[in-house]
């Protein structure tokens, strides 16, 4: 208990992990994929707290309900899969999604447009690739099939270069659509497609929490204690509607922060954050 009593602040990473965890419903089957330490920690945090009946499928190993020894930077690792209760095969996980039994998936993008379409395939055009990204794994399929999608990115904040130009993460246009949101790039609604899932309902970034309005457009829902509507608008290429009940995001309890620190002693999740963001701390209430 002494350790917990000493915890008076949380980091940005821990706040994001907690906010991603809050998007996870109890009793569903959810998959954390790979290259996603913030999400991996969020699933374990959710299962330990409000979602004990979560069927937690580890990315890459397809182990169910493992107790990781510690978070590793490589997802397909025995340390991540320790004491898994049982295992799926690759085809079984994707079949569960295709048949409507994957409750929630977590996806990210180097470009995220106003409808929640995302690009992790390439920058540039068909003729010339200016930056080849690693690719989306099964994200393309799961963006259509998963019941709901939580989007996350730790690189929402943009900085102007010497010419005043910004490369936006939340951008007007995706150079390539790897995974689908609520409307096609041409604006056609998702309802016209025979997808299983309802699409993204939440975006957790380094600047705030977002949802989607009736039209399927990204909408600002909550700020962090150190961000503002103006700051977020500056880092977003498209005009950003703000929810009527805009709030400040809730912070995790000290017990939760302690749990995250215990599960990730190598601080792998901080590698998703910019060096400046690794220095952001928030005072916990009651501390």
């Amino acid at each position: 208990m002494n350790n917990i009593n000493k915890i008076q602040t949380c980091t940005l990473g821990e706040l994001m992990i907690y906010q991603i965890a809050l998007s996870i419903e109890d009793g569903i089957l959810a998959f954390h994929g790979f290259g996603s330490p913030l999400v991996q920690l969020a699933l374990h945090l959710a299962k330990r707290n409000h979602a004990p009946n979560l069927v937690l499928v580890a990315g890459a190993t397809y182990g169910i309900n493992p107790s990781p020894a510690f978070l590793t930077p490589t997802t397909n690792d025995f340390a991540m899969n320790r004491d898994a209760e049982c295992h799926l095969t690759i085809e079984e996980l994707f079949d569960l999604a295709a048949s409507g039994r994957l409750g929630r998936m977590f996806l990210s993008g180097l470009q995220i447009d106003r409808w929640g379409n995302m690009n992790v395939t390439r920058l540039g055009n068909d003729e010339r690739i200016s930056l080849k990204l690693p690719g989306g794994g099964g994200g393309c399929n799961l963006s259509a099939d998963a019941g709901h999608v939580t989007i996350w990115t730790a690189a929402h904040r943009t900085h102007a270069d010497e010419h005043g130009r910004r490369r936006y993460r939340l951008a007007n246009h995706c150079d390539f659509i790897t995974s689908v949101g609520h409307r096609t790039a041409e604006g056609l609604p998702r309802a016209g497609m025979p997808y299983r899932g309802a699409g993204p309902d939440c975006i957790v970034t380094d600047l705030g929490i977002f949802g989607f309005d009736q039209e399927g457009h990204v909408q600002l829902h909550a700020l962090y204690p150190d961000t503002s509507v103006e700051l977020i608008a500056e880092s977003t290429e498209f005009d950003l509607p703000v929810a009527a009940n805009l709030s400040t995001a809730a912070l995790p309890e000290p017990e939760m922060v302690e749990f995250i620190r215990r599960l990730d002693p190598l601080k792998i999740h901080e590698r998703e954050l910019s060096p400046a963001d690794r220095g952001r701390f928030f005072q916990l209430s009651g501390a």
Binding site: A98, P134, C140, I177
Partner: protein, 306 residues
């Protein structure tokens, strides 16, 4: 059907089953159980113009791209996650056009392999429409489902020329046993025209049967006993991932193709006449023992990642 009683051969003979221009399915996933020794031998044999198909990969695909062995990549992910980030040789080869980008997605690939396994021309999926993957894959078609009236995407059967797998154990007949996640290896083995495998150890059939047959012998063309054949990727429970070696690989790739040639391909591939020479080059028994002792304590395990 591959029914010969004794499938054993040398690593050179094993890899010679791969021809220039083949469609190659590499087993394993990310930093887990990649058939690295066979890939290094493939580079030494100067096999070229490969089309690679697979799900989530890292150093295996990056190494082949750095060596100029690849013409087309149809993988779904090639990178080093939060460990080192982007796969630099792969990225360079895609951006210069040396490698044609035909990225695929995991379930599309799974369904394509299943169509091949089941002898069907295609399998339907709901996803992919609405994304730009249809442009990368003009062979994917859409149709209206005659039962529900929904528009579905049809992905054609995919039969790789060769599946290359690293397994824990085999018997002489070619039955394979894999411990831990098989990733797409079983699908690859059943869909491909040939299956070639390196294994940590050859064991008598009785022992293998007790452990369980992951891939039956008649799918398997040839096998080669290649201890530590996945290095620097992991082959738990025998040995962990060699992050230190991978870091030096990454540094060599970071400074351009010449640096990669000089500081990685030359000392660890071309100058090693065989796999035993490679094992000496990476630090021999002393290094391998450290990787094997991952389970002695939590501290030792964690140290491998620091």
């Amino acid at each position: 059907m591959y029914t010969q009683n004794d499938k054993r051969c040398s690593l050179t003979e094993l890899v010679a089953h791969i021809q220039n221009g083949d469609c190659l399915a590499i087993g394993g996933g990310l930093s887990w159980r990649e058939p690295m020794a066979a890939l290094r031998e493939l580079i030494r044999q100067n096999i070229k113009d490969l089309k690679l198909v697979g799900s989530a990969h890292g150093i295996d695909v990056d190494l082949l791209c750095g060596a100029g062995s690849v013409a087309v990549s149809a993988e779904s992910y090639v990178g080093f996650e939060q460990d080192f980030g982007m796969a630099l040789n792969y990225r360079r080869a895609c951006e210069t056009g040396a490698v044609k980008v035909e990225d695929n997605c995991c379930y599309s690939l799974v369904q394509q392999l299943r169509a091949a396994i089941q002898g069907l021309p295609f399998m339907p999926i709901r996803s992919v429409q609405g994304t730009n993957f249809l442009k990368l894959h003009p062979e994917f078609k859409t149709m209206t489902c005659p039962f529900t009236g929904e528009q579905l995407v049809l992905v054609p059967a995919l039969k790789p020329d060769v599946a290359l797998i690293h397994a824990h154990y085999a018997d002489e007949h070619g039955n394979l046993h894999i411990e831990g996640p098989p990733v797409a290896d079983i699908l690859f083995a059943k869909a491909s025209k040939k299956v070639i495998a390196t294994v940590e150890a050859l064991i008598p059939h009785d022992e293998l049967a007790k452990k369980g047959v992951t891939i039956p012998y008649f799918y398997v063309t040839a096998i080669c006993e290649t201890p530590y054949g996945a290095h620097p990727t992991s082959c738990y429970p025998r040995y962990a991932y060699d992050r230190e070696h991978t870091a030096s690989y990454y540094q060599a790739a970071k400074h351009g193709l010449d640096s990669f040639n000089q500081n990685y391909l030359t000392p660890f591939v071309h100058d090693c006449k065989d796999h035993d020479a490679y094992l000496l080059a990476i630090g021999g028994k002393a290094r391998l023992t450290i990787l094997e002792q991952w389970d002695q304590s939590m501290e030792k395990w964690m140290q491998l990642y620091e």
